[in-house]
């Protein structure tokens, strides 16, 4: 259906999206790059001189930066581990015959649809609070001291909250992939004498490799930018214990109003995200093509 007329119509129809997204990409990015080489602080109006890579060296040598990188990796790695392993487990479970499967599915899927600020607040105040939270009550009931989650293990607590939010996503994807597996393959394996574990290891798991890869890729992209949960529970603290790269840049830009340094940080975040994306894309190149 390719006539000159339809092709020029197609160009016109696709133009707004392309132009808007192009603008969205180029203009703010260009400005970020530009600001990153200026001394520019919103609290100190005046000229904004060009200072080359000073912002970058300031940002990168800040000990907070090292903490932020480590925390970012821990956050992403931690959530990925919990959600992928938990997702596989839940997918297996939900695939079994049972009564009320539809309702269990709803129960398991629900956390993904709760807005991040609500889930963070509910977990922080009503569940994890060392005085009034449910966990505190439960600890007291068995004679243990309540655990001050956000003071003692802020990053781990945030990992827990975010994992709770993203577990449904992983479960749903992996369950969908699992249910697309042709049962004939499994039946043939069973006839050949394979145990349930063997069947899982040699047939189900490889079939799901692609879905697992997709889950990892997509979640990583979103997890690099965890923000609301940190803002609402710890504000990055105590100190920088729960600051990730996103939060560090935010703090630099909108709390300390140091636009120059913040922009440099933003560029660093983009570069890192791209590295992760390329690295991951290569890893999944095989899986997605097959």
């Amino acid at each position: 259906m390719a006539t000159k007329a339809s092709r020029s119509a197609a160009r016109v129809m696709i133009a707004p999206s392309v132009i808007l997204l192009l603008g969205w990409m180029l203009i703010p990015l260009g400005l970020t790059l530009y600001f990153s080489v200026l001394r520019y602080n919103l609290l100190m109006p005046g000229t904004n001189p060009f200072i080359g890579f000073e912002n970058y060296s300031y940002f990168l040598t800040d000990p907070a930066f090292r903490d932020a990188i480590v925390n970012t990796l821990l956050l992403v790695g931690g959530v990925l581990t919990v959600t992928v392993l938990g997702g596989i487990g839940l997918a297996i479970l939900l695939d079994q015959p049972m009564w009320g499967q539809g309702i269990v599915r709803i129960l398991v899927i629900a956390p993904f649809f709760v807005m991040p600020t609500v889930s963070a607040l509910v977990w922080k105040n009503m569940i994890m609070n060392p005085v009034n939270g449910l966990f505190a009550h439960m600890a007291g009931a068995v004679g243990l001291q309540p655990f001050d989650f956000f003071a003692v293990a802020p990053l781990a607590s945030i990992i827990g909250i975010v994992s709770w939010q993203w577990l449904p996503f992983a479960t749903l994807i992996l369950l969908t992939a699992m249910q697309s597996l042709d049962s004939e393959q499994l039946e043939a394996a069973e006839m050949d004498g394979a145990s349930p574990f063997a069947r899982f290891r040699h047939i189900v798991l490889p079939h799901m490799a692609r879905a697992i890869t997709v889950v990892i890729l997509i979640q990583t992209i979103f997890l690099l930018s965890i923000f609301a949960e940190i803002l609402v529970t710890t504000n990055g603290g105590p100190g920088t214990a729960s600051t990730n790269l996103t939060f560090l840049v935010y703090a630099e830009s909108l709390l300390r109003f140091d636009v120059g340094t913040g922009s440099a940080g933003g560029v660093v975040a983009i570069v890192l995200a791209n590295i992760v994306a390329i690295f991951l894309m290569r890893m999944i190149g095989r899986n997605l093509d097959s």
Partner: protein, 276 residues
């Protein structure tokens, strides 16, 4: 597998699954229950589950904070607004990619999806400054602009996948029947694509409603949607669990319901076709 399923195994599965399901769902359930307690009961030790005096005073208290409904309305406006505008821009793009594919169509699509992978913090500063200078900070319009742009790739992608399921021959028949491009899209394509468009709208409203980066950084008191408003409950003064629960329940209930209907769309829209 048409074999008889051992009822004992089924019962065991059911027990395990329901236990885990309730455990996962529990925070939401707890929030819902607490919203009907008094503040004192909300922090009671041992915690009360169902046997308490149910009251709706928290809901009334939250509503009496006259700004609650303004923030609720903000959420509605920016979610629905950015979805409708996104659709208006995306439908033509998806038509062109699905029915008149060119050499670069796949690349353009991949590029669009890649714009979603940009960490928002990388453009936080310029967007903030631009909005400040254009008086778009703390406005619904500003948020709608940003939300439209960040979700446009997903809307385009989803519509593209739905449009591809429509046989091109039917649109060709419309052309042979004398339909102009406008008629072809309006009278043939859109009516056939209604389920796909509805699914896309559903998913996008959910994503926009729950968005918690731009909505937190670009708003203050006036245009803050529920994401930001709830965040303001985070200062630790005083006992407020019951009211927090009421405010939270009202904030998440619409999306929980919509989410129940949109599981398939979620898989389609957020895995970019890699999982079916």
């Amino acid at each position: 597998m048409a074999r008889a399923i051992d009822p004992r195994r089924k019962a065991l599965n059911t027990a395990i699954a329901w236990t885990i399901g309730i455990m996962i769902f529990f925070p939401i359930l707890w929030t819902f229950l607490t919203s009907f307690k008094t503040e004192a009961q909300a922090i009671a030790d041992p915690p009360v589950f169902f046997l308490f005096d149910w009251t709706t005073e928290n809901y009334r208290a939250v509503q009496e904070r006259s700004d609650y409904f303004r923030h609720f309305w903000n959420s509605v406006v920016i979610s629905v607004g950015s979805t409708l505008i996104g659709l208006a821009i995306a439908i033509p793009a998806a038509w062109s990619m699905a029915f008149v594919p060119g050499r670069h169509t796949k690349n353009i699509l991949m590029w669009m999806l890649s714009t979603k992978m940009l960490p928002p913090v990388g453009v936080l500063v310029p967007i903030y400054l631009i909005f400040r200078d254009l008086s778009l900070l703390d406005t619904q319009v500003g948020l709608i602009i940003v939300l439209t742009l960040i979700n446009l790739p997903i809307i385009v992608w989803m519509l593209y996948t739905y449009f591809r399921e429509i046989p091109a021959e039917i649109l060709e028949a419309a052309r042979m029947d004398g339909a102009s491009l406008r008629s072809e899209v309006l009278y043939i394509l859109l009516p056939m694509a209604v389920p796909g468009i509805a699914s896309t709208m559903l998913l996008n409203i959910i994503l926009a409603w729950n968005e918690a980066f731009w909505t937190l950084n670009l708003t203050a008191a006036r245009a803050a949607p529920l994401t930001a408003f709830i965040a303001s409950y985070s200062s630790p003064e005083g006992l407020f669990y019951a009211k927090l629960s009421a405010a939270s329940t009202m904030a998440i209930a619409p999306i929980l319901i919509m989410g129940w209907f949109s599981q398939k769309q979620l898989v389609r829209g957020l895995t970019f076709g890699a999982v079916k």
